[in-house]
C-alpha cells in the first residue's frame, strides 16, 4: 500500500479503532477483573477467576452446549429451507427476481424486534399456528412453542433465514450456463445433478450462509429472550442477565469474550473450508 492510500484510509482506521477495537479491548481487560465482595465496584488486581467459574460450573457448560446446538440446528434448518427458495429466486426472471430479493431484505433491515414480536403472536397458545393445527385436527391441546427450545429455534430460523438466502441466491445465479443441462444429457437424473454439479458449485455460498446464520444465532439476544420467555438461557441472555440484572460486569465480559472466541473460530473454520474447496483437485 502506498502512502497516499494510507493517508486516505487513516480517518476510517481511527474511527474503527475507537468504535470497534477499544470496546473489545475494554471487554477483554474487564473479563480478568472480579467484582468486589458486596460491592458494585471491581476489586483490585487481575485473575482468571471468571473463566474458571465458566468452566467449572455445570450450569454454564449446559448453556454453552445448548447455545451451540440450537445455533447448529437453526443453521441446518435454514439451509434446508433456503436452498429451494434460493433456487426459485435465482431462476426467476427480471422483475420477479428483484421483487423477491427486496422481500428477503425486509426482515434484515427491520431489525430483530418487530418480526420476533410477530412470531410471539404466531407461536402463542392461542396464536395462528396453534389454531391451524387445531382446525386440521392435528392436536386438541395447544402445542407449547413459547419458552421451549423448538420455539426459539423456529424464531432463529425466521430471523436469520435472509443471511442464508442471500449468498445462496448469489451462488445459484452464477452457475455457469447449461452445465445442468449437460449433466442431464449425460444421463444424470435430477438428484444426481444436484449432488454432483449444483451443490459442489454453490458450496462457497453454502459455507458463507452457514457461517453467517451460525454466528448470528450464537450471539442473538432478542429472539431467545422474547420467544424463550426467560426459560431458555443462551450466551446472549446470560451475558445480558449478568451485566444488567446481577450487575457482574467482569463475568458478563468473560461470557462475551468466550462468545467472540467461538465466533472467530466459526469464521476461521468457514474460510478454511473455502480455501480447501478452492484447491480441491477433482
Amino acid at each position: 500500500m502506498n502512502k497516499r492510500a494510507l493517508m486516505l484510509l487513516l480517518p476510517a482506521l481511527i474511527l474503527s479503532g475507537i468504535v470497534f477495537l477499544l470496546p473489545f479491548l475494554w471487554l477483554f481487560v474487564t473479563s480478568f477483573r472480579v467484582q468486589g465482595e458486596g460491592s458494585l465496584l471491581m476489586a483490585e488486581g487481575f485473575s482468571a477467576a471468571n473463566y474458571a467459574r465458566l468452566v467449572s460450573d455445570s450450569y454454564f457448560a449446559e448453556v454453552f452446549f445448548r447455545t451451540m446446538w440450537m445455533s447448529a440446528a437453526a443453521t441446518v434448518i435454514s439451509l434446508v429451507i433456503a436452498l429451494p427458495m434460493a433456487r426459485q429466486i435465482a431462476v426467476s426472471a427480471g422483475r420477479a427476481k428483484g421483487l423477491l430479493l427486496a422481500l428477503i431484505l425486509v426482515p434484515l433491515v427491520s431489525g430483530a424486534l418487530l418480526p420476533t414480536l410477530g412470531m410471539l403472536h404466531l407461536l402463542g397458545p392461542l396464536g395462528v399456528i396453534n389454531s391451524i393445527l387445531k382446525d386440521f385436527g392435528l392436536t386438541t391441546k395447544s402445542v407449547k412453542f413459547l419458552g421451549t427450545v423448538p420455539g426459539v429455534i423456529i424464531g432463529l430460523v425466521q430471523a436469520f433465514l435472509p443471511l442464508m438466502l442471500l449468498p445462496l441466491v448469489n451462488a445459484l445465479s452464477r452457475l455457469p450456463k447449461d452445465v445442468e443441462a449437460a449433466a442431464e444429457t449425460l444421463g444424470a437424473p435430477t438428484h444426481i445433478v444436484w449432488r454432483r454439479v449444483i451443490l459442489p458449485l454453490v458450496a462457497p455460498g453454502i459455507i458463507a450462509g452457514s457461517v453467517l446464520v451460525f454466528c448470528a444465532s450464537l450471539t442473538s439476544f432478542v429472539t431467545p429472550q422474547i420467544l424463550g420467555q426467560g426459560k431458555i438461557a443462551t450466551f446472549g441472555t446470560m451475558a445480558y442477565q449478568q451485566a444488567s440484572l446481577v450487575l457482574d460486569w467482569p463475568f458478563a465480559s468473560a461470557v462475551a469474550v468466550v462468545m467472540l472466541a467461538i465466533l472467530a473460530l466459526g469464521l476461521a473454520v468457514g474460510s478454511l473450508a473455502l480455501k480447501l474447496l478452492a484447491r480441491r483437485p477433482a
Partner: protein
C-alpha cells in the same frame, strides 16, 4: 440418386414451441435425419435452432408435435434416458472437475467403471487429439481444447445421436476452418448421426450431407447443399445461401418489352412466358454474381446497364454495374470497361431463378 438411402433415424413431426410470447419460437417443424447422416440446421439468429435442438434433447418440451429416435417415440423419455450427446455453444464443461472427470461423468451414470472406463476415456481423448491433458482443469484449457473436451464428453457415452450447437462460433477464424475439417473427418470415421446448428451458411454447406434452412420458426428447405444452392425453394433461401448469395432484381413490363430498374432486359422465350404468366405482377429475378459474364451486344438473355465502379480482386476484376437503383457485380478477366460505359450482362437461362415478390415462392419455368 442410385445409392441406397439409409433409413430414417430421427423423425420430427409438426413440432411447435411457444415460450408464451406472442409468436411461437417454432411454428411447425418436420424433419427426418437418416442414420449416419450429418444434418446442418441453418438459419439466421433467433429463428429457433437452439430451441429445436433442446426439444430433441428433451431439455425443452414441445408445445405440440411428436419425435422418434431409432423407431422409438421420444416424448415420454426424460432427457437423462435419451442417450443423446450434446455439445453446447458455451461448452458447459463442469468447472469443478478435471478433463478426465468431465468425460468420466457420463460413464459413471451408466455404471461403467474401472478398466473399461479408463480405456474408453483414452479412446475418445485420442479421437479428439487431447492425450496428456486429462488431469487439467477446464479453466486451464484454450477455447479449442475446451471445445474438444466437450465433444469427447458427448462421444464417450456412444450416443444414438450427436447434437452440436454452433460448435465453432467461439473459435477464431483459422481454428474454425481446421476444426471444421476435424469434425467432418471424425463424423466419417465413426458414422454417428449428427445434427449441427449454425448460422454460417458456408459452414453448413461444407460440412453437412443435408442442410435444413430455417427462418421464423419454419423449415424452408431441407436438401443436399448442391440442391439448395442450385435450386433454392424460395427467395429467402437464395439470398441466405451461397457465397456470393443471390441478388434479387424486380422485373417489370415496359412498353417495348421488359426492364430492370429502368434499364432494358431481354429474357429468353421461356423466361418471358413465365413472367407473363404472373398476370402483370412484377417477378423477382435471382442472379448469382459468379455465374454472370459480359456480352458484346444486347440480345436474348441480356440485361443492359451502366458501369458504376470496378475493383481488382487478384487475377480478375469485379465490375459493379448500375441497373437504375440496383447494383450487380459481374466478374471479368479482361480489362474492365470505363465508368459510365453501357454494358450488356449475359445471364444463363438454366441457372436463372424466378420468385414471386409477395410470397417469395419459386416461380416454375414452363
Amino acid at each position: 440418386m442410385a445409392e441406397k438411402r439409409a433409413p430414417d433415424h430421427l423423425v420430427i413431426q409438426k413440432v411447435m414451441k411457444n415460450y408464451g410470447g406472442s409468436e411461437p419460437a417454432l411454428k411447425s417443424v418436420s424433419l427426418n435425419v437418416r442414420k449416419g447422416e450429418f444434418l446442418a440446421l441453418l438459419g439466421p439468429s433467433g429463428c429457433g435452432k437452439t430451441t429445436l435442438l433442446k426439444i430433441i434433447a428433451g431439455l425443452e418440451k414441445a408445445t405440440e408435435g411428436q419425435m422418434a429416435l431409432a423407431g422409438e417415440g421420444l416424448d415420454a423419455i426424460p432427457t437423462y434416458k435419451r442417450d443423446i450427446g450434446i455439445v453446447f455453444q458455451s461448452y458447459a464443461l463442469f468447472p469443478h472437475m478435471t478433463v478426465d472427470a468431465n468425460i468420466r461423468f457420463g460413464l459413471d451414470m451408466r455404471g461403467i467403471k474401472g478398466d473399461e472406463a479408463d480405456q474408453r476415456i483414452a479412446e475418445v481423448l485420442e479421437l479428439v487429439k487431447l492425450e496428456g491433458l486429462s488431469g487439467r482443469m477446464p479453466n486451464a484449457l484454450s477455447g479449442g481444447q475446451q471445445q474438444r473436451v466437450a465433444l469427447a464428453r458427448a462421444l464417450v457415452i456412444r450416443p444414438k445421436l450427436l447434437l452440436l450447437d454452433e460448435p465453432l462460433s467461439n473459435l477464431d477464424a483459422v481454428l474454425r476452418k481446421s476444426v471444421r475439417v476435424d469434425i467432418r473427418e471424425l463424423h466419417e470415421r465413426i458414422g454417428l448421426t449428427t445434427v449441427m446448428v449454425t448460422h454460417d451458411q458456408e459452414e453448413a454447406m461444407s460440412m453437412a450431407d443435408r442442410v435444413a434452412v430455417m427462418a421464423n420458426g419454419y423449415v424452408l428447405q431441407h436438401d443436399t447443399p448442391e440442391t439448395i444452392y442450385e435450386h433454392p425453394a424460395s427467395a429467402f433461401v437464395a439470398t441466405f445461401v451461397g457465397s456470393p448469395p443471390a441478388i434479387l432484381l424486380p422485373v417489370e413490363k415496359t412498353p417495348d418489352g421488359y426492364g430492370i430498374g429502368g434499364t432494358a432486359f431481354m429474357p429468353s422465350k421461356t423466361l418471358s412466358v413465365a413472367i407473363d404468366l404472373q398476370n402483370g405482377k412484377p417477378v423477382l429475378l435471382g442472379l448469382r454474381s459468379d455465374r454472370l459474364s459480359f456480352a458484346d451486344q444486347a440480345g436474348p438473355l441480356t440485361i443492359t446497364g451502366e458501369v458504376h465502379s470496378s475493383e481488382y480482386i487478384g487475377g480478375s476484376w469485379l465490375v459493379h454495374v448500375a441497373l437504375g437503383e440496383h447494383r450487380i457485380a459481374v466478374p471479368t478477366r479482361a480489362k474492365p470497361p470505363q465508368f459510365g460505359e453501357a454494358v450488356h450482362i449475359r445471364i444463363d437461362e438454366a441457372e436463372t431463378l424466378l420468385f414471386d415478390p409477395d410470397t417469395g415462392a419459386k416461380v416454375a419455368l414452363p
